[in-house]
Symmetry: C2
Subunit: 384 residues, 2 copies
């Protein structure tokens, strides 16, 4: 094996799967060298997507993917003291950053293509998120398609033009999703899935011999839809990485997939979801129905009890749970995991309604909101 | 059907299952009458156990089972301003009351027969509880067998004598468990289980025709041990009541049982558990092993993250989860329910370690403490 000067930064520029070697460039002196491997793991991650519109490379347009991005944003605010920020995108990065910007007293404008934030979630949840934004002074601007940025002579954005009008802005956060870093893998012959991420299997193999993949650059199997999806989340990357590592070292590990669980926080509002939403469930051929309830997060007489909303998505024929989404200011995020287990186990809403949960007044009502929702859902299941 | 004056309080004194009628006494005028039924539900609940030692009927000895008990305690404190209270029993009622008494600035002494509180839980959990008591100024007195109460001329306790010594006390809380109210049912021929509570089945039937039972007076099936147990908890009573009610009205409902989930709070410490402890698991013939971990309740850099302890109990041969216990100051009680679902589904620790939980830094680390514990436990499972 060739030596690499580990003290300087290198970048992989090419993979040669036949020769079982990678081309590496030393960023300090631009020299390239080949480095041979027995087994290779492609863990190239993903990068923030940037809108390809005029002015989009301005210095005060930021994306947020890693710690360095976060520091760049923080430093810019510290130095330039911007008065107002425009966030493009109503996904969870944009939503989480609203809180950070409001804490720094920036006037915060969130621009969205639709009428509600978090467009991948159910309408009832998105409405709760919108309310949380408004309660915290975020300006939520609907139906805007960004068209261009106007720059000053320093190359800094001064305003955002959309299909409708234009808005002054001292800085921009582009939070419009991520793109998997697949170019080097793809050039080497690694197949991509229909999502554009690297195709893999439950052993984290690619189609290329002795080449594995893990993390935000590759797909993952969704156990509810039984389909390969691109879900770039840290906990999934972590599990895939362990599997790929074990197998690259000669082991026999498998990672069977996810059910699609995630959570985020918008100011005080906790949002959590698992499985499929209504639209996806129908797209995958389920006879999907849903049940929405609002309930107290603990026994009503306990201090700190808050209303929470639960929506269950289930198959009307079999009663099988297909997904769950929750929003509330207390006790939401950790509640969802019980339903993630139920999804893994393909449980029905009727079975869920009979679960024995831990009850104590500081933590829930005798009938946990999940059990109430499941019980009500079970009445909609067709009894044959 | 006979008329009953619903404006005065009545008590059932006898059940005549052959005649399908109950004897009812009007408490206002002591007159009895018979009242016939088509179907009867016995939901007589449980009462607090009282130690049968000299002086135990003194006016300032309290038990706590219902709201009236709570008001009696509150009123006594308001009126008599006791300086110190002795709690007998280290179970969850005694533990929860420590917080209430300390909030009223009473010197609080908890007397226990053993060296640790919550003797039904695992030692590691009990040690956390002991620490919480001590941090909050509760005096935990070990290895004391109450022998008698010394009373003053007003019939009020002035001190507690134990097998070892004696302790002055201005009021006593006896928190030594509950006894199911089975006397009337048993006299009528209702069979009791080995726990002393009314024997029932998954339709909440008793052995007597057209007589159902529900709640703290009857047994419940434990799905992990596959044994009938007495678990007098509000959420179980609620589910049994619905089942009994539906069936008494001609329905066909079943309540298949519990896995043994419960939670309580000792000052800031949340304690939650589900399934069997080590000793019970072994008693029921499992080849039980355990895994203890301590982990952060959320990502360590998030404000408010607290250490939590998890102990998993599992079968070494099959890897099947048998029980879980947790203690910590944040994010414990609602975490246990995911493991309750796993118990219902007879999942192995290996399967649990691969679950897709919702991850976000304000709520957990990428690997939730449950997943870490399950992963470590899975390494102890015998691979055949």
């Amino acid at each position: 094996m060739q030596d690499i000067d580990v003290k300087t930064e290198h970048r992989v520029t090419k993979i040669d799967p036949k020769g079982k070697r990678i081309e590496v460039v030393n960023l300090a002196n631009s020299q390239t060298q080949w480095f041979s491997y027995d087994r290779l793991i492609i863990a190239t991650g993903a990068r923030s997507r940037r809108l390809n519109i005029p002015g989009s490379n301005a210095k005060n347009i930021f994306t947020l993917k890693d710690l360095q991005d976060g520091l760049r944003i923080k430093n810019y605010i510290d130095e330039k003291r911007p008065g107002q920020v425009a966030i493009l995108g109503g996904g969870f990065i944009g939503l989480e950053m609203c809180e950070a910007f409001r804490l720094r007293n920036l006037e915060t404008f969130l621009f969205c293509r639709r009428d509600l934030p978090a467009g991948n979630l159910e309408k009832e949840i998105s409405e709760k998120i919108l309310k949380a934004l408004q309660e915290n002074g975020v300006h939520f601007i609907t139906y805007q398609e960004p068209a261009a940025f106007r720059l000053d002579s320093n190359g800094e954005v001064t305003s955002l033009e959309t299909n409708q009008t234009h808005f002054p802005a001292d800085m921009i956060l582009m939070a419009v999703g991520v793109i998997p870093n697949v170019e080097i893998a793809n050039e080497a012959g690694a197949e991509l899935g229909k999502t554009g991420a690297i195709r893999t299997d439950m052993a984290q193999r690619t189609n290329l011999a002795d080449i594995y993949t893990a993390g935000d650059c590759c797909e993952v199997f969704n156990l509810v839809s039984q389909d390969w999806v691109h879900t770039p989340l840290g906990d999934i990357a972590n599990k895939q990485g362990r599997t790929a590592g074990e197998n690259a070292a000669g082991g026999n590990a498998t990672f069977s997939g996810v059910v699609g669980s995630a959570a985020f926080k918008v100011f005080e509002l906790e949002v959590a979801f698992t499985g499929l939403g209504m639209q996806m469930a129908r797209q995958y051929g389920f006879d999907a129905d849903s049940q929405v309830i609002e309930a107290e997060s603990k026994v009503g007489y306990m201090p700190g009890s808050k209303q929470m909303l639960i929506k269950l998505i289930f198959d009307r024929q079999s009663g099988r749970l297909l997904g769950a989404q929750m929003a509330g200011k207390e006790g939401v995020a950790r509640r969802i995991n019980a339903l993630a287990v139920a999804l893994h186990q393909k449980m029905t809403v009727d079975e869920i309604s009979r679960l024995d949960f831990a009850y104590a007044p500081p933590f829930s009502a005798p009938f946990d909101p999940i059990l109430i929702a499941a019980e009500q859902a079970s009445r909609k299941v067709q009894r044959s």
